[in-house]
């Protein structure tokens, strides 16, 4: 891997089997890990966009801090008995 000095844009080389390796700092900044899936978009200007594919279930888990207390389910259900 080589990096350009000024812009600090990482560069990678495509090997004979069309594979690339992402630089460690890119992996870290993008919060990627082995086994993650990436969607690939080739744009009209020739740029390629890699986007981490996120599981909607994983996005749901833990996404709403405090919602249990704010909802107070038991009180809601007890209202039906009034």
């Amino acid at each position: 891997m080589a990096t350009t000095g000024k812009a600090r844009t990482p560069e990678v080389e495509l090997d004979r089997r069309h594979k690339i390796g992402l630089p460690p700092d890119v992996v870290e900044r993008a919060e990627l890990k082995a086994g993650d899936r990436l969607s690939i978009q080739v744009r009209r200007d020739g740029s390629i966009l890699l986007t981490k594919v996120t599981d909607p279930l994983e996005k749901f888990i833990g996404a709403a801090p405090g919602i249990s207390g704010a909802t107070n389910l038991e009180a809601l259900r007890d209202e039906w008995a009034r």
Binding site: K59, I61, G62, P65, I67, R77, W80
Partner: protein, 135 residues
């Protein structure tokens, strides 16, 4: 295709809220079911309950939470006449059960679900397919 699993509001709220005391147990159970290719069903009554907290924060928050819920579990299942009748039978047979509890359990009966996940221990006495998540 894996098991069909009806989710109660109590489980969804525990799953959604990282500060909920049952969050870890709910997350573990749901992840295990996902790996086993379970199909999750969220009755529309459950939707109405779990969005109450979001509703208090405004329309934008309701839309956000609804989008998260749909993306994770699909379109909520409507409470129809058959489910209403099954809930009435449950209420008739078990005097102590509340109407919303009966509607969720009835949805599982009518759909033919393999399991109903809840954190409410009282449901165990009403329906054999109830699994209580304790944490």
């Amino acid at each position: 295709m894996g098991a069909v699993v009806v989710l109660d509001s109590s489980v969804l709220l525990s799953l959604w809220d990282p500060d909920d005391p049952r969050h870890a147990v709910a997350a573990s159970a749901i992840r295990d079911l996902r790996v086993a290719r379970a199909r999750f069903v969220v009755p529309s009554l459950v939707l109405a309950e779990v969005l109450v907290g979001a509703a208090r924060q405004g329309e934008g928050m309701i839309r956000l939470r609804l989008a998260q819920l749909r993306a994770a579990f699909g379109e909520p299942h409507p409470i129809d006449t058959k489910i209403g009748m099954a809930a009435a039978r449950l209420r008739g047979a078990h005097g102590s059960i509340r109407t919303p509890d009966a509607l969720v359990i009835a949805a599982a009966q009518v759909i033919g679900a393999d399991e109903v996940l809840t954190t409410d221990r009282r449901w165990e006495q009403v329906e054999h397919r109830v699994r209580v998540l304790a944490g």
